[in-house]
Chain length 314, copies 3
């Protein structure tokens, strides 16, 4: 694997390989000294053209636990402000000696463009509404471990609830969950679905109460306040009433069902219950697993097998 | 000690223990290679919701000299901007594996809230007008070493001059100096004193010239320009005339008296002399000692005694 | 060498020494593990009062490859915003233990001021329109290696094209190239030349077509959009027509001629060709060489000769 730009490009074999590797990384993370020298002297540069502290910290933590050097570059302090082209920025940073770029950008497709301009590996950390592949992998890993389903998700029913249209998480997760065998139902109002779902391996319902008592995984998406201003939902209160996870709905979940959320949550909107009170919530585990999964991704891109043995010297 | 949120919670025994430990850290800092492996593979995260380069750099330097990994998180680039609750931010960052949070926030009490949401240690690096305990400890350490008073401050007279009302430094320092035995006089106009001083172990005067020639330590607080706009002082010029350290007043200090300031100074306002020209100024030593004291705090929270021996391997 | 503030202060002997040392650093950078312990436990602080991701990353990469600790300080999050004087900021940061400051500031002369206030070494990373010495050294290094001229630049003809008046790069490069023996021609409209060139070792022409077919090095400066608003150029289109490197002009370059640019480029303005299509372009090498040259500078300031042998332990 040279780049990780989409779940599609990764393929189901790649996805399974990364999930297995994540198990190994999770074991490292349970050690008293959670650090290995696997990527010693590799340099990983975070290029975040959109704010995302949680994703950036997760990648940087992953890189450090593999002993890589990390550097961070955010648009606020960059020459991109001076009108430099993205291409020149990439070529300039790459010329200093970079092994991987971790890229977040508000425009779809930017990670593909960047990979044409550099010899370094490119990891998509979110491009517009398009893809967020490491989120999908960490979500698969979380389902796999929490429901103990290492062999795959055949027969599992996963509902993804909320603003599908504007969600890169939904796009990446649909393909990842489906490729492992899950049956997927999207739950959203018409205004928050893409214009066409042709070719998507999903069912659609417009009422969360139709499926709440029969899913194995309830995946809640963030409801952004901006959608209300765009008149895509009548009000946040109305949204919660129709699509939010309320205490009443939480009581109707099956006892083994998982509740997931990519964060940051809007408490009182899509999450109208305290996740700390939900026995099935694995939202914190998603974050913890994110570090293991991103270690697996970086190691798969930059490492060589034998380097993973033993502790880091630094 | 699990957290350092206030001087009160630390107590006098804790304060003395940290001062003794700071001596050891200062010795490490005088070595050609000022680094020990004491906190190797511990992760310290700076969460600064208010700008403070000097305090953040001091903590990060301290963490690095103990070989901890450091990560920095400032509100400008965080999901807090997207409306994420503080609690979710903390739980998210903590889930990646954090041993201590160093927190600055404009609201009093935030470090206590945070410590309820995470297993990690919490160090208060300034909460609103409330407390700034590491500043108080480094000030005690500076007085103790500069006046050679390891046993305590009995009989010592310390004046704290300026905007007591809005100063977390004043609050923390009063309790720390007093617990070591010093007699404390606050010097301020009525408008810059808290509504009530009931229970504070202090005297109050409204004229700096009443005490300038008899104090052992003159502790000047920063005069913020905003106070003038709020009409709490008539003008900065007037403030300087009544409460500033002018050359004439500096001449009246006892020869052994120390001049201190928590920084950043307003030259020409409260500091109407060049501190470089004052023989008693220990303002630079305060900064240098800040690194040793913060090493002591982090080690006390996260370290184990035997790890402090020898040099770092990295 | 205690500081690197200007090319003049460095002198031709110093320049030659740094170029030789850069050869050694470039050799390190070609190793599989491009890291040496030369500056282990030295602390290098970047103080950037103006945005410049590329220069800051280059210095930080250089410092890390020499195993120095790095800390970064940008004005957006600093006490300078609170009205603290620059001097107090420097003295405060220095008191925490700093071996070198790398400084960029919009005002000429700031690196000299700073060096009066601290025992640490000061490297000028660009002060106003004044100097940018490491850019000049890396440009000399790039010419020297690309044209294989280790002994000096006697008989070489270098044209510097564009906004000379507002360019610290032009100022530093004229002196560096000239001191190695090159003949220099400035190419610019009257409005973009300094009021006086008395004492500058240069010729001036106002038409790029007069020299395009006879130079050994064509050094293009960035044309800033602001200049148009200031009415110093009639329009960017007009500027390109008169002074830009267009395909037609590129065809007239001698086959061995180098094309250089300090970045960030304005494609379509001064660079009206794709540099990737120009056989003589060494723009990417400039960036790569920048890391080696900055390693040489930091090592010359902070290192001791024997430390450069062997690999880093971390």
């Amino acid at each position: 694997m040279k780049h990780l730009r989409s779940i599609d490009e990764l393929g189901v074999d790649g996805l399974r390989r990364l999930l297995d590797l994540s198990d190994h990384m999770a074991e490292i993370n349970r050690r008293p000294v959670p650090k290995v020298p696997a990527l010693r002297n590799k340099t990983v540069v975070s290029l975040f053209f959109e704010d995302s502290t949680r994703t950036r910290l997760s990648f940087e933590t992953a890189a450090k636990r593999l002993s890589a050097d990390t550097m961070s570059f955010s648009v606020g302090t960059s020459s991109v402000n001076k009108g430099e082209s993205l291409r020149d920025t990439i070529e300039t940073v790459a010329a200093m000696g970079v092994d991987a770029f971790v890229v977040r950008h508000k425009s779809s497709g930017v990670p593909w463009q960047i990979s044409r301009w550099t010899e370094a590996s490119v990891v998509n950390a979110g491009d517009g509404w398009h893809e967020h592949p490491t989120q999908a992998i960490l979500d698969c890993y979380t389902v796999r471990t929490a429901l103990n389903r290492p062999e795959g998700f055949d027969g599992m029913h996963i509902a993804i609830v909320g603003d599908i249209k504007h969600s890169r998480v939904a796009r990446s997760n649909v393909w990842a969950f489906a490729s492992l065998g899950a049956r997927i139902t999207l739950v959203a109002p018409h205004t928050l679905l893409p214009p066409s779902l042709e070719g998507w391996p999903v069912d659609v319902v417009h009422n969360i109460d139709d499926i709440i008592d029969r899913v194995d995984v309830l995946y809640m998406l963030r409801m952004q306040r901006e959608r209300m201003h765009e008149a895509l939902v009548p009000s946040l209160r109305e949204y919660t009433a129709q699509f939010g996870l309320t205490p009443g709905r939480a009581d109707r979940l099956q006892s083994h069902a998982l509740v997931m959320h990519p964060g940051p949550m809007n408490r009182g909107v899509e999450m109208a219950v305290d996740p700390g009170e939900l026995p099935g919530s694995v939202i914190t585990q998603q974050v913890t697993n994110g570090v293991s999964v991103r270690m697996a991704v970086l190691f798969d891109l930059l490492g060589s097998g034998s380097a993973l043995v033993g502790e880091a010297s630094s």
